[in-house]
């Protein structure tokens, strides 16, 4: 079929009449450069509100608990007794006395491996299951039961199975994080609109092409939802597991501080844990955005 040049049906866009250029006075101000304005907007819109809220809550907390004899420490007490932990996240004063920053990194190392495995296996398993009604009906009750098992309950079993504390910890993270990943991936795969399937049919895409070009991108929002939930659970799991197994992670720090009745240390540790969890969540969300080229919000 020869395609000859097409005469455009619509009228060619006419050039807008050039406005008469006015001669501006010489001392006209140059427009402000973009940066300070943008920084100011970001600050006012995204940073200031949470800062104000947090500061007010701290003030309220201080007010409520500042009288002597309160069972919980006030923010000022926390600062006085454990402020050094906030100010020096990377000190090293002994093999088992290291800054909370180091402890978080130690715990994160295990999370990285465990979660990475869970992501890989979870998406693969979810994609396979999502395509078969029969499989879904078969495994769904099993998954629903297994996913409610708390991570700590898996620990003795995995220790007995692996006879090594290092893979056991990673297994506990893996088995905790994988369920939302599988379940969400399955949902995403099932939710592929019929239209996309039709396109794939018309184009006669093979299994692999369908998987890479349509299934994965279409299910991506669901998959990343699952990954975000999974990373949060993985972080929870390692903190809890360390309370039982020991070591130099942040979970064991909390257990130890509890044993020594150092409540203010625990509060500071909670701060580190919360911030880390937040960062992890945002990281996964960001990766989702990059991978889906902006279609996942």
């Amino acid at each position: 079929m020869n395609v000859t040049a097409l005469k455009s049906k619509t009228a060619p866009a006419t050039q807008p009449k050039q406005a008469e250029t006015k001669v501006l006075p010489v001392n006209a101000k140059k427009p402000d450069s973009q940066w300070p304005g943008r920084v100011k907007t970001i600050f006012l819109a995204n940073i200031l509100p949470p800062v104000i809220v947090v500061a007010s809550l701290l003030a309220l907390w201080q007010l409520v608990l500042s009288g002597g004899g309160a069972s919980l420490p006030s923010p000022l007490e926390i600062w006085q007794q454990s402020g050094d932990l906030i100010l020096e996240p990377f000190y090293v004063a002994g093999t088992q006395d290291i800054g909370l920053g180091w402890r978080v990194l130690t715990s994160l190392e295990r999370v990285a491996v465990g979660f990475g495995l869970a992501a890989f296996v979870g998406v693969a398993v979810g994609a396979v299951i999502g395509q078969s009604q029969w499989l879904m009906r078969g495994v769904d009750p099993l998954f629903q039961i297994l996913r409610t098992v708390p991570p700590l309950a898996w620990l003795p079993i995995s220790l007995a199975a692996f006879m090594d504390s290092r893979p056991s910890a990673i297994f506990v993270i893996f088995i905790t994080a994988i369920w939302p990943i599988i379940i969400n991936t399955t949902a995403g795969v099932r939710a592929i609109p019929q239209d996309y399937r039709n396109i794939a049919a018309v184009l006669r895409l093979n299994q692999f092409e369908f998987f890479t070009k349509i299934m994965v991108p279409s299910a991506a929002p669901y998959i990343f939802s699952g990954l975000r939930i999974g990373v949060g659970l993985a972080w929870l799991a390692i903190v809890a597991a360390e309370m039982l197994t020991g070591g130099v992670g942040i979970g064991f720090f909390i257990w130890d501080a509890w044993n020594s009745s150092k409540l203010t240390d625990i509060f500071v540790a909670l701060l580190y844990i919360g911030v880390t969890g937040f960062v992890l969540d945002r990281l996964v969300a960001y990766i989702g955005q990059v991978v889906s080229r902006g279609t996942i919000t």
Binding site: V3, D195, N198, R204, I214, R293, T295
Partner: protein, 265 residues
Amino acid sequence: MSYLKIDHVSKSFPLAGGREALVLDDIRLNIDKGEFISVIGHSGCGKSTLLNLIGGLTEVTKGGIILEGREVNAPGPDRAIVFQNHSLLPWLSVYDNVKMGVQKVFGKTKNRAERHDWIMENLDLVQMAHAADKRPGEISGGMKQRVGIARALAMEPKILLLDEPFGALDALTRAHLQDAVMDIHARLKNTMIMITHDVDEAVLLADRIVMMTNGPAATIGEVLEINLDRPRDRIALASHPEYVRNREALLRFLYERHRFVEAAE
């Protein structure tokens, strides 16, 4: 031998409880190459089902569909479909959406530069070349539908199937796109089958209008030949006696002889 022969085709769908619903009954239609066929009928008369059968997305229960002498029973790019919901993949740009089909069909026969040119030509055809790098989320409904048409055309299908492609658009956009389709048909002289609800659209665009009876067990009620010269100007045609007569015939079919009755469950 006709280009596309729909030979005593019936289609039933299985229902729960072992029963069957007969949707289309004994459809017989011959279509020539280069014809523009409109299919019109009330809701539920199986128009989309007929299109899906021709497109191969579903299989006939009885009879056969023969395209250029070979039976059709599977989908393929030779019968490209333009869906009512444009169905553009939102994570790909306009260019990439079209490219997907081109890659598949011409991956081995055209080289990269040729494929690129081909894609841009097809986008040009629907006046969307300027938006090649935009995402579907960034363009209007009408533009999306244009891209859908471009994608289908880029596969150089033997038959272009359009399933109420302009149903979701406003009247003005619809008018523009109808013009675009007529243009394309004039230039490419390809075979097109379009489902529509719109009587004016059917008469304006088609060479023949296939009028379906009501479902269930719908069949072809009548086929109306439209003998209007091309190119067709909608404004001029509005008062053209032949146009008006055809339109009247269509309306009588739909609203007098085959009134739409709510299907009793």
